[in-house]
Structure formats: C-alpha cells, structure tokens
Amino acid sequence: MKAPAFRYHAPRRLEQAIELAATLPNARLLAGGQSLLPMLNFRLLAPEHVVDLAKVEGLAGIDELPGAVRIGAMTRQREIEFSEVVRRRLPLLAEAIRWVGHRQTRNRGTLGGSLCHLDPSAEQPMVAMAMDAVLDIASPKGTRRLPMHEFALDLMTPAIEDGEIVTAVTFPQWPEGHGWGFEEFARRHGDYAIVAVAALVLRDGDGRLSRASVTLGGVAATARRVTDAERCLVGSRGEPAAVAAAAEACAQVPAMGDAQIPAGYRSRLARTLAQRALDRAIARTGAVA
C-alpha cells in the first residue's frame, strides 16, 4: 500500500529537530526508514508528522575515544560495515552488522533507527546489549545518558519519551585479544533472525576466562543478556563442559513462541547457536584483530 498522509519535516539543526519532536502532536522520527516506511506503507502507523533526521548536522560519524567508540545515531549500517575503526576496535559489531537485512537496506538503515525500533531479533540492539553500550538521548531539557539495558524496556518499547532523540551510542571497547562470536539462524539469509547469539570472552594471563558476555536475540521480548551463562564461563578455561553449561543456561531463558516457531524450537536454537558462538569466541581469544 501507500503511506497515509502526514506532514514531512526536514530540520537541519538538532535544536530544531528536538523542538519539532517535542511540540508536534503525534510525530514520528524518521532515521533510515527501513522499518518506519514499511510500517507506514502497511498503515500500521498513521502519524500526523514525520521528522526526518537525515539532514540534521552532527548525528552521523564514527569517533574513536579512549577505551570506547562513539557512533552517531544516524550513521548508516553501510558505514559501520566498512569502517576500519569498527573492524579493529569493535569486531563483534563488525561481524554482526553483516547479518542486518540486505546490502540494499544496510545502505540506508541506521544504528539509531534500529535501536529505537528495538525489534527483539535485531542484531544492533544485541551488540549494544552485549557491550553495555550507552545511549546519548537529547531533549529540550538537555542530554541524558542511558545504558542499553535500561533503554530496552520491552518488546519494541525503548525508554524514550516524546520529544527525545537518540543522538549517539558509545560502545566501551573490550581489551585487545578478546574473542568474539556471532551466530544467527533465519530461514533465508537477510530475514529477521529466529534466534541469534552474540558472545564475547576475555582470557587472563593464566588462560582462565576473566570476562564473558552472552546475549540472545529473538528469544525474549528484547535482546537479553544471559548472566547465568556468563557465570558458567568466568573462571573456567573455556573447556567444553563450561561451554555446554553456558549453552544450557541460554536454553533455559523463557522463549517467545508462536504458531510458526514454537518456544521449544527457539530454546534449542539458543543452545546450539550459543555453543557455536562461544566456541568461536574462545578460539579467537589472544588473536589480534
């Protein structure tokens, strides 16, 4: 179908965008449009106003900070995919981004758009959750910073008020030599994941895992860290029994189910993909990206 009628705005400065978002009734923010436009065309949404952020200055770009990488909310997935900084410093994000949609949608879709859409099986919210990313959220009152686990409230429900705009996402970097793994299963490449798993591990000097991060996508209402799995790994040497226990913990997370994909199937996928993601992450420890 065609989108319902609305009024389109294309502010150039952040203050203008914030003011529009805060004052216009029933307004939606438009980032890359790869989720909003389908929802408009399906007429699942009928906003009175659409505020396009594409021309707002200063919302796109990848900045290296000490110990972290800050990515502007309007940075397109394509730029993340081909960024040398991301490949070197955020290898998990570099790997996960290639699973996002298709070439043609990554060329337009943005990091901030995906985080705000907050699809339960989307890869970018998973990586933000896995890495304890922090979002900058601007409003007429100023900018607040919110960690991803507080931002992801519920199914497609970010903790963001009318009039607030996510402007950037800061990913704290894992130390050099950490291992990462990302595994996903979908019926066809580029479809929404049925289940996806992101894993990060770090080894200390005597070969024990000193840190682990395990995140599921497509299982719960939002991307979900599995702290029980992380506890199975930290202190272990990443031996098969520890990985199997962590994978089992992933299978224990209560899973969503529907007529096509029952919960039990998602749980089995969670176990299998967690095993693979962890095996890969552990094998990669010590390697310099």
Binding site: M1, K2, A3, P4, A5, F6, R7, Y8, A10, L30, G33, Q34, L37, P38, L40, N41, F42, V50, D52, A54, K55, R78, G101, H102, R103, Q104, T105, N107, R108, R188, H189, G190
Partner: protein
C-alpha cells in the same frame, strides 16, 4: 492508482519542493509529503523501469541507486531524496541503445522471464560490479538475496552475473 503528486494546492495535502538529480538530469519538483520515491520516478518522471512489487522492502523490484548506493525506492520518500543523486535502470544502457554488459548478459543467459524483478536486480548487481571487480558466486548470491524472482529460479541470473564479470574483466 496513486494520484499524481502535482500541486492541487486547494487540496488538504502537504507538499514539499525537492531538487535532485535523476540519471544525470537536474530536477525540481513539488511532491506530496507522503509520496514514495518509486512512485515519484514512475508517475511524475515517467521512469517506469523502476518497479513496485511488495512496497514494504522485501522483493527488491524497486531498487535504485541513491547517492551511488543501491536502495529500496519503496522505503524512501521522494522528499528524502531532496539533494540526492538518483540512478535508475534507465541509466544503464548507452544513449545509442547499446546495452550495459549486465543487461546483455541477462539477455544472453536467459536471466529473465517476465522481467518484473530485473531492473532492481540489475541495479544491485551494477553496484556489486562497481565495488568488487571480481566477485565470487557467494558474493553474487548474497546481493541477490535482497531480491525475489518468481520466474527464473535464480540460476540463470547468477550465470548472467558471472558472464558480465568475465566480460568486464576481459575488457580491462
């Protein structure tokens, strides 16, 4: 049918003025705010090579280039294309009618049947061939994963893409 997007300013519909370049031609137009880029290209500019299949980003029939990169024209408002450089399938063949090597390869290898999906696939493959001079089959298939074709079964599309790669490399 979508109504043409030109003025009727007495109607209660919001419009925007956009300036963009389409296939090398500078265009200034007044478009309805909700008008999609694909409808703008087809209805307002008469560039009917860009097809609309699903209108929600799944089939790839509407693929054009926006600022040098393939994109879904059904997931882009005409207003968002303000200031952009758009290329459509009409720009592939030379003005004298000589087909682009990809188009020729599709013809030679039976890479299309009904042709509905073809313009979008050509635009995506043209981007791949520009960016990756010698793509392997998996790179070709990965790009094709953003497209649906109900006729060919894809094998001949892959064969055509590979033939175009060989031909372009031979020409270097």
């Amino acid at each position: 049918m979508s109504s043409p997007s030109h003025p009727p300013s007495d109607r209660c519909v919001d419009h925007h003025e956009i300036r963009l370049r389409v296939n090398g031609r500078d265009i200034c137009a007044r478009v309805e705010d909700r008008l999609g880029l694909a409808d703008f290209l087809r209805e307002d500019l008469g560039l009917t090579g860009t097809h609309l299949g699903c209108e929600h980003g799944v089939c790839g029939a509407c693929t054009v280039w926006i600022d040098g990169h393939s994109a879904r024209a059904c997931l882009t408002l005409a207003a968002q294309a303000d200031g952009c450089e758009i290329r459509t399938v009409e720009s592939l063949a030379s003005p004298d009618g000589t087909l682009h090597p990809l188009q020729q390869a599709f013809r030679d290898h039976h890479g299309l049947q009904c042709g509905y999906c073809t313009p979008g696939i050509l635009m995506s493959l043209a981007e791949l061939l520009r960016d990756v001079p010698d793509p392997d089959e998996s790179a070709i298939r990965e790009v094709l994963s953003g497209h649906l074709c109900r006729c060919t079964g894809y094998q001949n599309i892959v064969a055509a893409a590979r033939a175009a790669v060989d031909r372009l490399r031979g020409a270097q």
